[in-house]
Amino acid sequence: MPANSIAFDNLTKRFGQTVAVDAVSLAIAGGSFVALVGASGSGKSTLLKMINRLIEPTEGRVTIDGRDVADGPAPTLRRRIGYVFQGVGLFPHMTVAENIAIGARIAGDTVDIGAALDQVELPRDVADRMPDELSGGQRQRVGIARALAPGAKLLLLDEAFGALDPVTRDALGTEIRRLHADLGLTTVLVTHDMAEALLLADRVLVMSNGRIVADATPAQLASGGGGEEAQALVAVPREQAERLRALAE
């Protein structure tokens, strides 16, 4: 198997009586770009966070390249997994450069800030700015740079573009796709937006009530495959596209 392949083995998370993730078993090939789509509360975010142990499973396990993520301390695991989320969570008391360097710093390493900024297409002079001086899109680019700076080959995107305007969102999507290819990443994208999933991912997983209810390629989904629940989600962007086309005629 290629490096940075992920496997879920009977993975379950219960919060009290609620089952958030229900006995999911699944393999994600190294180097693939997988989208995890579902409505709010479908368990997609919980599933993602069990990969880098921001949430610990109730039952089952997650392995990366065959090694259980629960072996060893969580901080060590997280340092080699990039995690980008909707809230971004830039450290408000640190400059952009300090934010990007933080992962390397806590591991006793250094980072080429210029290169890291180039990678996410930010001008180098933002390095000394504070996060509150940046726009939302710039902030999320810094978030991505921070996630990738320590050399992570596994990138987890948790509704990472959710709070951005559509133009910025589209640009960042394209950006991520390029970084995925350039850096040879394994990328897992959690989103509630099926259009985003279809346009970015190689493989789309649909989650509902803690279970994977569909597992298909974007092409299969676009041509009506993947089952009923997946198609209900695909129907939304498809109808929107048709209505737009109708407007133009």
Binding site: A74, P75, F91, I106
Partner: protein, 512 residues
């Protein structure tokens, strides 16, 4: 202006003690609050408990909080077999530390809870250990809020430290309390002004640190911290210079003029004998015997009747000639406290009335007072109504006054003069009895014991020949007329003298 400037010269050593006490309490308060705040932010139960306790402490008046630790430490010292000082620095430190907890804890917890959850999640996600998260993210983000809490705590602590005088810890409060007792307003003003100036300076400097942290200007907060440290070192300098002089002795005094004067007379004797002398003024009568027993003070003047009724819990009234030796034997046997001897005058509780009023009502004795009492108001000193002497008087003479109001002694005489009260519990050695032409009521049923002034010394001084030799000249030497005159020099409203000046006069008058 001169009396004020004179008073200011007494500030530096007291300021040093004040800064040391408040500073130590604040540092310990911070050391306790910080881990507690971190723990509280991670555990709801701990948070409720810690904040609840700190808030509860705040509701206790600071004076009462200080007073509470005296019996508590005394008891604790008894449990562990002695060695814990119940007076002075320790109880003050504990009380002020507890007082400092709330603002620091509350701001720390609020600051930690106010951190954006996204920032916490990011800290976890980049792979920080809990310790790294605390150091790199939580601490810097919480710092400005926390420092604001420390600033509040510092100002409170500096203010409350003035009250530590009452448990025998020197502070700027010494000036305020002594000034209040002897109506020396220059002294009160000097104490208030210094305490306020200290609080304002500390507030401004911590404010500078806070602003530096908030606006991320390193130079600003480092300057603030450096100035604060320099200020603390400068203010406490008088303490470092002293070194550890083994020959330092402490003279205790209760909270009225006669005690201040006698303490200075004793101190002068000891200084002539080569001792370095410190004073602990303003101790309560209930506390001071404990202080000499524990060695917190080396020597002080008490009154036979006070020891007899309050410490020995005796209800019989023997002739004074038998009382003093009995007290000496009791003090030595039960507390290892030494009785050097009686000074030669008595300061008894003496009920006094304005002479014209007493004449008009035909009152000359406590017995005459019984039928008239329901139409009369009693003014007493701050302690009298709680003391066994009052209980004994009430038992012998069923007095039921229309009202009974405690005053500090000076105000008690004023209340009598102004007609707010009709009878006061005066002191027989008080110069104001003669000066105000008061009538002292007789005690035909001998309810009030004798109050010969006696010199008591701490257990470690009991066999100290040099120390005792320095005090011996005072025994039998101080007559009541000389004492009254000296007291009046301090207590009167016009042409007031300081206790030091009155002490010098008294030394001359009795030929020391």
């Amino acid at each position: 202006m001169t009396p004020f400037l004179d008073a200011l010269t007494r500030v530096p050593p007291l300021l040093a003690q004040h800064v040391l006490l408040a500073g130590a309490a604040l540092l310990i308060g911070i050391a306790i609050s910080l881990p507690l705040a971190v723990w509280s932010s991670r555990n709801e139960g701990v948070s409720r408990l810690a904040l609840g306790f700190a808030s509860l402490v705040q509701t206790i008046p600071s004076l009462a909080l200080l007073a509470l630790f005296y019996p508590l430490l005394l008891w604790l010292s008894g449990v562990v077999g002695g060695g814990i000082p119940a007076l002075g620095f320790l109880p003050s430190l504990i009380a002020l530390t507890l007082y400092a907890l709330l603002p620091i804890l509350r701001n720390g917890v609020a600051g930690l809870e106010g951190i954006d959850p996204a920032v916490r999640q990011a800290a976890d996600a980049v792979g920080m250990t809990p310790a790294q998260k605390l150091r790199l993210v939580e601490a810097p983000l919480v710092a400005p809020v926390l420092i604001a809490g420390i600033r509040t705590a510092a100002v409170w602590t500096i203010g409350a430290a003035t009250l530590s005088t009452t448990v025998g810890q020197p502070s700027l409060g010494d000036l305020i309390f002594a000034g209040l007792q002897t109506q020396n307003w220059a002294l009160v003003l000097a104490g208030c002004v210094s305490a306020a100036a200290l609080a304002l300076c500390v507030d401004a400097l911590i404010g500078l640190i806070e602003r530096g942290l908030r606006t991320r200007r390193r130079g600003l907060w480092i300057t603030g911290a450096a100035l604060l440290l320099a200020g603390v070192l400068a203010a406490t300098a008088p303490l470092w210079a002293q070194g550890s002089d083994k020959r330092t002795v402490v003279v205790g005094a209760k909270n009225f003029a006669e005690q201040y004067i006698l303490a200075r007379v004793i101190g002068d004797q000891l200084e002539h004998a080569g001792y370095r002398v410190e004073y602990r003024d303003g101790l309560g009568s209930a506390v001071i015997f404990g202080a000499v027993t524990g060695g917190d003070i080396d020597v002080y003047v008490d009154y036979a009747g006070t020891i007899w009724t309050n410490e020995m819990k005796r209800h019989d009234i023997p002739p004074p000639a038998e009382m003093v030796p009995a007290i000496g034997a009791w003090a030595a046997a039960t507390h290892h406290v030494g009785l050097v001897g009686a000074l030669g005058f008595e300061n008894a509780y003496a009920f006094a009335m304005k002479t014209d009023a007493a004449k008009r009502r035909g009152i000359t004795s406590l017995a005459d007072l019984i039928p008239a009492a329901p139409r009369l108001a009693l003014g007493s000193d701050l302690e009298f109504l709680e003391r066994p002497e009052w209980a004994a008087v009430k038992k012998a003479y069923p007095l039921r006054f229309a009202s009974a109001t405690p005053f500090s002694p000076t105000f008690m005489y004023r209340a009598l003069a102004s007609g707010r009260v009709d009878v006061i519990s005066a002191f027989s050695s008080d110069g104001r009895i003669a000066a105000d032409h008061l009538t002292v009521l007789t005690d035909p049923r001998h309810a009030i014991p004798g109050y010969d002034a006696i010199l008591l010394v701490a257990p470690k001084r009991r066999a100290d020949a040099r120390f005792l030799a320095a005090l011996k000249p005072l025994v039998g030497r101080v007559g009541v007329d000389a004492m009254r005159t000296a007291n009046y020099q301090v207590d009167r409203d016009a042409d007031k003298r300081s206790p030091e000046q009155a002490a010098k006069w008294l030394e001359n008058a009795i030929g020391l």
